[in-house]
Symmetry: C2
Subunit: 154 residues, 2 copies
């Protein structure tokens, strides 16, 4: 086993949402961790799992991703076009979307989080309960083969 996490804890997590900790839910979750950089769509997850789980069905993957997202165990990521993409990382972070490669790159920035949180403390939104907010940067990679790196300027 090469996952730096505890499968028992995951079963526990799933169960504590009132869900059955089925094999499918566990492997879908693990696939999401393994494919983290890809922010995969349902079909990516399905294809990733198929070799070792030949009987899993695409419909189940759809349902499982939806169920896990509804229960806050994973997050749905908005993408520029069409299909839902998913992220096992539910901690606060933003995304950078590249329209050239369709990649979604994580953008974690504590300073930004704090800036926005404190900003919204000064805004009062009447008749609305914010469950979350996110910032998305869109644009395109200059060199598709290289990484995107965010640095702080002095």
């Amino acid at each position: 086993m090469h996952h730096p996490y505890n499968r028992a804890a995951l079963q526990q997590q799933i169960a504590s949402s009132g869900l059955k900790a089925t094999h499918q839910r566990i492997v879908v979750y693990e696939a999401l961790m393994e494919l983290h950089d890809k922010h995969p769509v349902a079909e990516d997850v399905f294809l990733h799992l198929k070799p070792n789980n030949p009987t899993i069905s695409l419909g189940t993957v759809y349902k499982t991703l939806d169920t896990l997202a509804e229960n806050g165990l994973i997050k749905r990521v908005l993408s520029e076009k069409g299909s839902n993409r998913y992220d096992a990382d539910t901690t606060a972070h933003n995304h950078i979307y590249c329209s050239k490669t369709k990649e979604i790159v994580d953008y974690r920035d504590e300073e930004l989080e704090e800036l926005l949180t404190s900003f919204f403390k000064k805004r009062h939104i009447e008749n609305f309960e914010i469950s979350n907010f996110f910032l998305q940067l869109s644009g395109s990679k200059v060199d598709p083969d290289k990484q995107v790196i965010i640095t702080r300027l002095k």
Copy 2:
């Protein structure tokens, strides 16, 4: 005619993108203005236009929305689920998404724009050209029948 805008200017705008200023493109654009609060999907636009433009086809609406968006005449709005939604207003603004009513409410906030712009001046993003960034607040209306109002706290 009850539009507070200049149709000739729109034709001009369309033409200056190298596109033909067809009747369909004009009425699709106008529909988008009229349905602004709805941030409509293609089908909403189609149904809105059908009565006065009985021969317009849904396929054309899809193509037109795509063409206008590609040419920066309108904006695509990301929505929590599935289909593309559109906005004729291309000026900088953010959106509030209500998961209860599926509404998208405009959120215009100059202070926020400025805060973010100056923040990103201090971040250097290597190998990426930002074309735009947007913030989305998600959550749900407390009373679906009432408006969402954002106010500044002193």
